[in-house]
Symmetry: C2
Subunit: 306 residues, 2 copies
Amino acid sequence: MFNSLPDSVEIIEVGPRDGLQREEQLLSTADKVALITALLDAGLRRIQVTSFVHPRYVPQMADAEEVCAQLPQRPEVIYSGLALNLKGVERAHKAGLTHIDLSLSASDQHSRRNANRTLPQALHEFDDMFRLARHHGMTIRGGIQCAFGFRTPDDVPPATVLQLAGHLLQLGVDELSLADSAGLANPRQLHTLLRQLPALPPGTPLILHLHDTRGLGLANVLAALQCGVRCFDTALGGLGGCPFIPGATGNIATEDTVHMLHHMGIQTGVDLQALARIARDLQTRLQKEQLPGKLYRLLAPAAEVR
Amino acid sequence: MFNSLPDSVEIIEVGPRDGLQREEQLLSTADKVALITALLDAGLRRIQVTSFVHPRYVPQMADAEEVCAQLPQRPEVIYSGLALNLKGVERAHKAGLTHIDLSLSASDQHSRRNANRTLPQALHEFDDMFRLARHHGMTIRGGIQCAFGFRTPDDVPPATVLQLAGHLLQLGVDELSLADSAGLANPRQLHTLLRQLPALPPGTPLILHLHDTRGLGLANVLAALQCGVRCFDTALGGLGGCPFIPGATGNIATEDTVHMLHHMGIQTGVDLQALARIARDLQTRLQKEQLPGKLYRLLAPAAEVR
């Protein structure tokens, strides 16, 4: 169980999107671009930079186009944006993104709240979004939100998740992601679900998107590693959370995840010390007492930063 | 790796000792006894109630004898106290405890700071403490602090830990515990060390004492479960931390640990909802903004408590 761990893991930073989407203190576009640049300099090569959603619901992402226009030009980096409807896909394409994260929820209840549509409606729209993104030649991630429950771990049947995953793979998504949007997953449940997942085509990675709402984030990373997962969404400082899930809190913290991986001998290509400094800086900019992440407090103590 | 998980796990609550030993807000003896009583009512059957150390260094534990005198008489419950020297053992015995937690550090540097003696001196004194406790007919836990490092995961050689463990087992301790006092352990390191540990005699449990300083607490619990560990020290609300370890923070939170175990189908006999309420109440009494534990915030929201 510890002999089959990988030598390296890919970290996808979702802090600029998931991390900032429910912060009261809005960051300026310039601050967001500076944050993304710092993350690149720390070694991250995949960043979800924004979401193309209605600014009335998520004002934090109202500057999606401006952010995309100012992204540092780095050919080795994959920038992605999240879209939940056709308009979002079109906006992302026009903003110059070539990688789109499409997403639907396995929970009908969550789908109604988060995307204002039932699960069958969302599935139908997903197909349309997929075709539009393909038409634009974009690389497509198909994501399943609430894959481990919405209000309880039992209120989303695994069969629904497996059915959706099968559908997305059949459509031909380039990546499949399962999101524990409500932070309800536990290692055993994760293992049970992943074992039942249909085999992914070669070159189609499985990405896990975990939240640390109940403190299980890194335990779930360990279980996922043992199940063969090699790619994780994380957010700097452990920020984040869906505005439409009661009690939802942050993603697994990038720096805490990277620290665990490095100390287990698993490489990520990311500079941990640099990450910690960026997290400390972000805490200051967001005017927060503390971010949920633990490691930055040790690696970049408040007194040492300016 | 998930098929061999146990049906049940034993939780040893160390909050009244480790959890409170560096809190600025001192609890009264009556408050401590009320806390212990509430923990019993929530289903806990093993509680480390205090430590017998010098009140000049740890004033929070100055009322060790008073706490012991007022413990609820429950024959099914095991109360224990921590002692770091002969005087501590004598005090614990006189206070009426029949279960003593003896402890020494695998880090010479930590031993000098925490117990004011070198590792060889500590080992010598441990033997004397053991004999005195045996003379008094006490059940004895032998604990190894800093088993996974003091300042870094590399500064305590595993060979030292294994040698100490062998020595304690040869002496005849009734329980062996390994403490990640500085929260430096990672799942792979844990697995590597536990695999090398000499076989424990039947009826001599291995107890793991983990801190969540770097957010790895529950990932380490998962790894330990997979390695066959069936007994964990935890502290309500995730309080705790050694006053003599820089940056040290809390133990793994009792309620977060119990939640993970229950959701993985592993029983503890503890009422999770009751634990959450006690943690919320303790937060209020300690006049803290928040405790490190995550689950009590969801299960016992502030508004609902009085």
